[in-house]
Structures are given as structure tokens and as C-alpha cells.
Amino acid sequence: MNLKPGEKMVFKIENEKIVIVKALTPKEFIEKAKEFRKHLSEVTDEPLPPIKKIFE
């Protein structure tokens, strides 16, 4: 695994094995959260409120 300066790694359990992966940056996480919200909005009747600026 190649890490750039400032990047971090974390231990995760995948398929009952401990693996080391690059930690997600907040920006990467927010993108994932937005994708999930899109999926969530597809299965709910009421529109979801926008992501608050405080989380970005």
C-alpha cells in the first residue's frame, strides 16, 4: 500500500480477516454519505432534509 504524507491507515475486519486499508478522508466520506442519502431518499416517502453545512 502506498501512502502519501498525511494519509492514515486503519485496521478493518473483512471476511473474518484483519486487513489494513487507507483511511477515508472527510471529503471521501461525505461523497459516500451523499450516495447513501440518494439511495435512502429512493425508499422513503418524505424528502430528506439537506446535509447541514456543519457536517461539510
Partner: protein, 130 residues
């Protein structure tokens, strides 16, 4: 969120998973694998510090529950408070009206628009809660 380290009690992602899996029971279209993946992502976030639940934390949480249960603080809340005490964290992001009532903490409720910010020592008015 971009620069500060965020303390996350291990109970929080479990609770979020529980809620979303309950949604899946009613709305099967909600993909529970995606829920699991999202929560795994939270734990893998570089500025998250996950606080594991160990025997000492459980005892600390019980002591806090003894102190605050009459104020409406519950078991999960006390675990969160014990995690904060362990790391000497004094700021909490919450939409729980009982936690918002703890004026020894700096409290932020992002559900309010603009977010409600209560300084240490400042009292929370439950009538404002929505």
C-alpha cells in the same frame, strides 16, 4: 468535520445500524449491505476516534447513570458521556434533549437551523426543542 478529531462511542454506529435495519423491515428496498458499508466507512474515517466499550468504561457509565438518570439520561447516553470523560472531551453534537440539558458540556444541536450552540454553563430551554 474536516480538521477536528471526532470521538465516536462504539454504541453510536451500532444504534444507527439498528435504526436503519428497522427501516429495512418496513422498506425492503433499503439495501442493508449499503448500510453496513456506510457504517464501516464512518469507522474508517481518518479523523474519527472510535472508543471501544470495555469493562472500565461500563463501570464509568454506570456511575454516570447513577448520577444523571433522574435527568432522563439513559444507558446509551451514559456510555457516550463516559467515552467523553475518558478522552476529556467537552463538546457534544447531539439532538437528545436530555444531553442538551447537561450544562457542564459545550453542546451543539445541528437539527436546529441555524445549529443550536450552548456554551458550558448555559442552560437549555426544553420548550425550544423541536
Amino acid at each position: 468535520m474536516n480538521s477536528e478529531t471526532i470521538l465516536l462511542s462504539a454504541i453510536i454506529p451500532i444504534e444507527v445500524a439498528h435504526r436503519l435495519f428497522n427501516v429495512h423491515e418496513k422498506r425492503k428496498a433499503l439495501n442493508i449491505d449499503r448500510v453496513e458499508e456506510l457504517l464501516s466507512s464512518i469507522i474508517s474515517l481518518e479523523n474519527i476516534q472510535l472508543i471501544d466499550i470495555d469493562s472500565r468504561l461500563v463501570m464509568d457509565a454506570i456511575k454516570l447513570l447513577k448520577k444523571y438518570h433522574s435527568s432522563g439520561i439513559g444507558g446509551r447516553d451514559s456510555l457516550i458521556l463516559a467515552s467523553m470523560d475518558r478522552k476529556q472531551v467537552t463538546t457534544i453534537l447531539t439532538h437528545d434533549k436530555n444531553l442538551l440539558g447537561l450544562n457542564h458540556l459545550h453542546r451543539i444541536d445541528p437539527v436546529f437551523d441555524p445549529p443550536l450552540k450552548l456554551k458550558i454553563g448555559e442552560n437549555f430551554n426544553p420548550k425550544e426543542f423541536k
